[in-house]
Symmetry: C2
Subunit: 135 residues, 2 copies
């Protein structure tokens, strides 16, 4: 969370401390390992648990469950249980979740576009470090 005294240059009321906290919480969600990927996948189409699991190579059952719970809790994802046998659970984005796709894709787009710039910057940095150590 942003500490309550600090400010974020958001368009809206910069004096509102609550807003900073809210923003920090959401940014935290963006930062955690799987949330954005899950949102992006559900943005394509609604899917079942193991359908997601198979697409997200490397995710543990536990983390997929936790991630989906959190997204459900935040109102970004809708969980639908079908009382069939075997049980079937569908996950879909809510309208709120869909509204997140746009800013998220903005960020993802930026990342994809400037990824090489960053990689190059890192190389230059390492180089400079090596020079400093050698010199």
């Amino acid at each position: 969370m942003f500490p309550s005294h600090s400010r974020l240059p958001v368009p809206a009321d910069p004096a509102d401390h609550t807003e900073c906290i809210v923003v920090r919480e959401i940014l935290d969600r963006v930062g955690d390992k799987w949330s954005v990927l899950v949102i992006a996948l559900l943005g394509q189409r609604s899917q079942r648990f193991n359908e997601l699991r198979r697409q997200i190579d490397g995710i543990s059952q536990r983390m997929l469950t936790l991630t989906l719970r959190q997204l459900e809790r935040d109102g970004l994802v809708l969980r639908t249980v079908h009382a069939t046998v075997p049980p079937r659970v569908d996950y879909a984005l809510t309208p709120l979740g869909e509204s997140a796709l746009e800013p998220l894709n903005g960020l993802i787009g930026w990342a994809a576009e400037h990824g090489t710039d960053i990689a190059e910057a890192r190389l230059r940095y390492e180089e400079a470090q090596a020079d400093a150590a050698a010199g």
Copy 2:
């Protein structure tokens, strides 16, 4: 990082695994506690170390140093040392750093706009949980 087999629905070449990794790394940066705030503050004007420190209530000296180092390493922030006494170090956004402001503000704007929606969703969720437990 995104596992190398998973895909992100970015406009550009979805088959490129490297892109996923790069995107995940950048998303991680967004998620860490202080980076976005530092970028936002430097977006207003370039600032000195303790100038930033004072504005970011709650940050430790260590974390501000680490955060700035990482942003410098990634080419988002430029560090300028003035050989005066006492020493003076200025931090400023690079053009790359400034280019990040737009997507970042997009996300921050979304968060600010939908923060109450999320808060409400959480209340409803807790409520439903309580009902389930009681019923």
